[in-house]
Symmetry: C2
Subunit: 192 residues, 2 copies
């Protein structure tokens, strides 16, 4: 087990508290004082780790996004077929978000709000490069529709965010069957 320096423990608690509060109350109702309290830390301590609230939310977003994509591609190998590669990555993405609903939901929420700075968002998107490469390979091989990355993303990856929200709200329980159906729908929408 890795031993964390004290400071890393506190920082992690702050990140976790931020995600939780933003998820459940919204950014507007997640004051620094509450975040500090939830992380068992003094408000002043936050400013040892983050410049200000905006910097905090940006850092949290970038970290979670990077972790998410790293997880999704962890077991990916270049010699997989496009279809197998896509399925693998898609399922890892789903797994990441379902195994840590809070982080998954946080990412969803960040997709649509002006909460995150433009630069941070762009940096978050950069992480997706391996997926875009995979799609390009698929397009070259005539397996995937020759569409803009935006369209491919919108129809194959983005829908997960909706399902996750419904799941977290309790409107809808994502079962294994649903997950399989969802994967089929994702693939059907982008395959040639």
């Amino acid at each position: 087990m890795t031993v964390l320096k004290k400071s890393e423990v506190k920082r992690a608690a702050l990140v976790k508290a931020t995600i939780n509060l933003v998820n459940n109350q919204g950014f507007h109702a997640a004051p620094m004082s509450k975040i500090a309290k939830m992380a068992n830390v003094s408000p002043a301590t936050i400013y040892l780790y983050f410049e200000n609230k905006q910097d905090m939310i940006n850092q949290v977003y970038k970290e979670v996004k990077a972790e998410y994509v790293a997880f999704a591609f962890e077991t990916f190998k270049d010699d997989l077929s496009v279809e197998d590669g896509f399925e693998l990555v898609w399922r890892r993405m789903a797994k990441y978000k379902l195994d840590d609903i809070e982080k998954g939901f946080f990412l969803s929420q960040c997709e649509n709000t002006p909460m995150i700075d433009v630069e941070s968002r762009q940096e978050g998107v950069k992480n997706l490069a391996p997926l875009l490469d995979l799609w390009d390979r698929g397009i070259a091989q005539d397996i995937i529709k020759p569409l803009s990355h935006h369209l491919l993303y919108a129809f194959s990856i983005y829908p997960l965010a909706f399902l996750l929200n419904a799941h977290k709200r309790g409107d809808f329980k994502i079962t294994n069957t649903h997950l399989n159906d969802a994967y089929q729908a994702a693939w059907a929408s982008i395959k040639k």
Copy 2:
């Protein structure tokens, strides 16, 4: 031309200002004072039309959502085939959001945040009943995959929100070709 009572004019200006500010700064950075200024109205006037900020955002959401669905189904007829009916409604939804990007983006933003009250969200969802009926018809006729409404929505309608956001941010311009491609992808994901 319908003549509006003075009050309806002011209320409409407030709604518009709210949508604009929430879209561009986020709920947390849309103070009542700014909303009032943008609507050319005194802050106190807001409270003649809305109970408080939360009530305001809920009302705005419900109104826009109702208008959106009404528009989408305006030209719908029960005697259309499932496929034609779906295409019609899908395209009307896209048209509504593209013709009024601000409202369209506002709706997208509302899908993922705890900004809107649970009850208001549920009321907004109720409007979609005709679409769910259409899907059920399609399922009964073996034209549409027998999936949960949540899945059908996630893959066929929800992706528009992503495209609209990218469009509004300037990352991506939705052309007619894109729109056709998007419709094809939407249909491919839900058709049997």
